[in-house]
Symmetry: D2
Subunit: 366 residues, 4 copies
């Protein structure tokens, strides 16, 4: 039976605002039981003490619970929810609701395909290491299978939500005689994102298994996935994987494509992704805004301290975190291309695209 | 005798770094005595407690003093120095040195023309009011005359540095029985920039005298100059005006043009300014980067809280000042168009371009 | 029938952490139905975009709902919840649970007395004006009556949670032809707190009615309550009032006292409040920490820019909001006196204590 | 010939304000040639991009140059200048001018004694390692000898200014085949401060040589000096050492004492230092403020995340750096004790006092 993937972008008025999603459900636009994932940009700082992410997840779970006949906890276990904090510059807070339902017919040439999968909970010592890489790769392949994607080339974006180390988790590992990849909890976010991205790269054949080891995580930036987007959060112990592809057997008029931004100001890469999704970028800024459904991208401060040879100050700024600068910048570059600011631009692109750059995906209506 | 205007963009390593300008002088690339203005982006917060601006001015004055045979104070009185704080996103700290020398011949069709002028010192009660508007208009006309620009349409950018109110200045006015436009020192920056911009608009014929009054300053945003860029600082009591035009009687191969960005993500306006200066913006990002000499633009958070109908969070962010978000965003949009990040993007665009937008000027080599 | 007031201080691990309160209830330490108010310090910025307050309230309501057999909304309507954002310096995030139950006997000399009351919802044009002052005074008197406090001198702290203006509320007023006290939403927080504090002062006889008018709110700092603590939040339309007193007819061993800090570093005032509550401040730092139950205080940056003649930089800091500096400072001063950091220090003390100072209350076990 | 040490505390209006020191010199209160050190609190963020420190040093050097008949560079080489950024909470920006002149007679029982010394420039690979520890110890002993202090117990405070690693310095070391202690430039500040403090501890006999190695720097917090205060800055390559003691052979009525704060809220330790310097701390807050000349202290966020068992949020705050919270807190605690806010409270106390605490010194007039 063919399936159809739907994507709904709704604005939020604040991080706890689940009303627009509730309205979609209550108006019959989407069935709660069809929802497989919700991604969101929330207006926190995107760093350690960003509680807007957990607040948004909690609000969505409490809203969905009665509509699904589940507890809030069961909702969280069923639907992949990936909140990315930080709407710097002009980025507009919003939610992206992904749903899957049966379709009457598959679209010739295929259409947007979605699959989700979860790893088992990780022990702390697995994070940022081969164990996380392997388990993520298994989950990516499972999500591809669920989406009916046989060819890795048909995968255009893999969103992963992954855990981090806390002081309590480190202590628990130590009590068992185990060591963790880092004792710096902030740094553990980077290593967890990095290992998750390498797991995606392994599953998609972008990096050979022989090139991988604990030592390359967070160290060898030549190894990366061009389609991974990973986000770490304290609120889970497993990896949650959402695979987005363009595949046969799917109906509807949604189409996805991706490109790789070699640096933060790579407008041409944004335009390439637009073209891939069937949109005409025009002489600079997209005219047909209405057909654009969603843009997903990663941003990071160039670790060389330079963008095309010119110094940036992101890493030296002790008032504004470097990832905040990076999101504002990349948000501006993409907004220049698409004429919209409700973009899912997420920070911290370790092993997700090349050093100083990152992947970008576009979902458009046919 | 024809003149020739030169513009040198040099990077800085920190706000007190005048070494690259010293090197230009010491290598004979520019004569210290030809320098008429220095504009700069410094890596402070661009707000009240941004001391990087004054630090940069002091470093430049101490460097230039022996090279001009003047005291540091006399250097500050002679050369217009306008530092704009804030290099958010990917903006790269740099200085723009403007110099004027005699030329053998004028360029047919004209070339970049520069003129500077200063008002007398203002009494505190003049700031943000008609007195400042009128004095600024007089100075703009004087700078145009110095530049030999007869037609206001030939003016493409007017950079103004203006004073602000401090507690001491307010008290001094009060002691004389005078009232000031505002007792909020931060707000006085906005009013001083706004009155200065309206002075430019008056001089250039963009706003008729009859439309102006104390009451419209900071209130009626329909009144604006499409070519004014104003920056307030505590370190002066007068307005310093730098007029940049494209005029006959000037030699060399530099050319200037401007456009107005209707909102913060108006890529087409950036491209229009590039074309005006003789550059081909291509299918999105400028290819001929080397011919681009300087980009000057104003950025401001849209006061409606929206960009093309989508909410931004700039005005509600109590951690990062709204003007900082705006500079990061507009810097990203312009970098997308020109492929460079050493852009003079300045915040606080009251009466400088339309609400939520701002003027942009491009200087290019022929 | 005599009553007994209980106060439980529990730490939180994050703003959404209601587990410690749940544990108190589930262990039978406090009955959910006895809880009349919950105050809390959450680790947000305490300013406009501090979503930790609403997140904490939502988490508490969802935790309490099944334990009270109510919806989350009904919990919010029943229990006064006042979250104060900002744990700068060393302040420790925590919740204060206030409960009232029947007692076998009243304590001779009285004991801690609690009363709560709510105003009706305000129309936007009432905020920051006489209407809010009057309604608050009525609610304070109702809460006193509920607590059986006849003598205003027996009131030692009045915690008020009050609404603020939003763009939508301002527009609604304007649509009806009404004007609001300010169109600056951030400033409306100050005016709403100020009018609420003057309402307390009126009810307690600290300021005569004749001295009050719309014009004095946020303007005449000589008018203030020595016992009001007001906090503005977007999540309500009414004022919620918690009166804390020392009154006959109440049992148990809790005792409350207050003092007024004339400036931010007034250690002696802290010691005076400790003494009032029956604690011996010793030669500087309290030794008998265990008997100390709670400290509640207001902090504000001195509007003169000086503390005892020495300049502070709070108001000029565009990176850290002035109220954040003030909480850190006052938190340090009180921690010096009591040897603890879990203090309810709240910012924004308009008409709450004298200019640059604020009220402080201490609750101790006998 | 006996000597006399003088200390002048002057407020500043901004980081570039050297006017009050100039006034002291021009009024004959202090001779420029007698000045041996200037310490200052400047109102930057105290972190990587705090340019207020260098701005203050440059302003002081340019002011002193004509008064000493030296170039600005020669002034910087002659006088130890230690600017500490960050005046969070209520801390008041100020400068402390230390001068030494001949005295007619030594004070019985001794008086404040000052000595300064400098190491040679360090190669990058020496920083944060035994080479820096040893060279600092040699300089401390030289400064003690210059001050005529024979007994290490007579030393009460040692202020050290030390270098840090930059990307350029790391690259230079690498080019020579040398490795550096860390490639993280921010972390190099901590290691340089730590090694400098251990050098002080070695010179004062607080830590035996056998306990020291490269590996303990930044790792074994049980090793510390109770009298070291170290500050890292990019503007120098050597360590600059100012030893302050109470020693025979010195005249005048100034007296110094120190204590160790075991944690950030240790009011009794502040009172102990006051008593040591001959001041009566009273029942909490010092009454005789006028006799207090200067307070110098170090602050750091407790690395356990707790203060006396209660959670603080300093290390998790991605908006405000942890050292900024710590300075605000310790500034509040000391202000509570002394009733003044012009305190030299500096952040980053690695190996300077115990974990979470730090040394405090008081200079008072007899």
């Amino acid at each position: 039976m063919p399936r159809r993937a739907s994507v709904f972008l709704v604005p939020t008025r604040h991080p706890g605002d689940a009303a627009a999603v509730a309205a979609l459900i209550d108006a019959g636009v989407v069935r709660a039981s069809d929802i497989v994932a919700i991604l969101g940009k929330t207006e926190g700082n995107g760093c350690v003490n960003d509680f807007t992410r957990a607040y948004a997840v909690e609000a969505l779970c409490h809203m969905l619970a009665p509509r699904l006949g589940l507890t809030a906890e069961a909702v969280a276990a069923r639907i992949a929810m990936v909140m990315s904090g930080g709407t710097e510059g002009g980025l507009s807070p919003h939610l992206l609701v992904f749903a899957v339902e049966e379709a009457e017919a598959a679209t010739p040439g295929g259409a947007l395909a979605l699959g989700t999968a979860f790893t088992a909970d990780f022990v702390p010592e697995a994070l940022g290491r081969m164990a996380q890489i392997h388990a993520t790769a298994v989950a990516v392949r499972a999500a591809m299978a669920q989406a009916g994607i046989e060819n890795a080339a048909d995968v255009h974006y893999v969103q992963v939500k992954c855990p981090l180390l806390t002081s309590a988790r480190i202590a628990a590992a130590r009590a068992r005689g185990a060591t963790v990849a880092t004792e710096d909890t902030y740094h553990s976010m980077a290593l967890s994102r990095g290992a998750s991205a390498l797991g995606v790269a392994l599953a998609l054949g972008e990096v050979p298994e022989a090139a991988l080891s604990d030592a390359v995580v967070g160290a060898d930036w030549s190894l990366f996935s061009a389609r991974a987007s990973c986000s770490a959060g304290v609120e889970l112990l497993r990896n949650e994987v959402v695979v987005m592809g363009q595949a046969p057997g799917w109906g509807g008029d949604l189409r996805i494509a991706h490109a790789v931004m070699p640096d933060a100001i790579a407008l041409p890469a944004v335009q390439q992704a637009l073209r891939g999704a069937g949109l005409d970028p025009g002489g600079g800024q997209l005219a047909e805004t209405a057909r654009l459904v969603a843009v997903l991208a990663k941003a990071e401060p160039s670790p060389t301290g330079l963008i095309r040879g010119r110094r940036h100050i992101m890493a030296d700024d002790s008032d504004i975190n470097a990832t905040r600068h990076a999101r504002a910048l990349v948000g501006g570059v993409i907004a220049a291309a698409v004429g919209r600011t409700d973009l899912f631009v997420s920070g911290g692109a370790e092993h997700q695209g090349p050093e100083g750059g990152g992947p970008i995906a576009v979902i458009a209506r046919g």
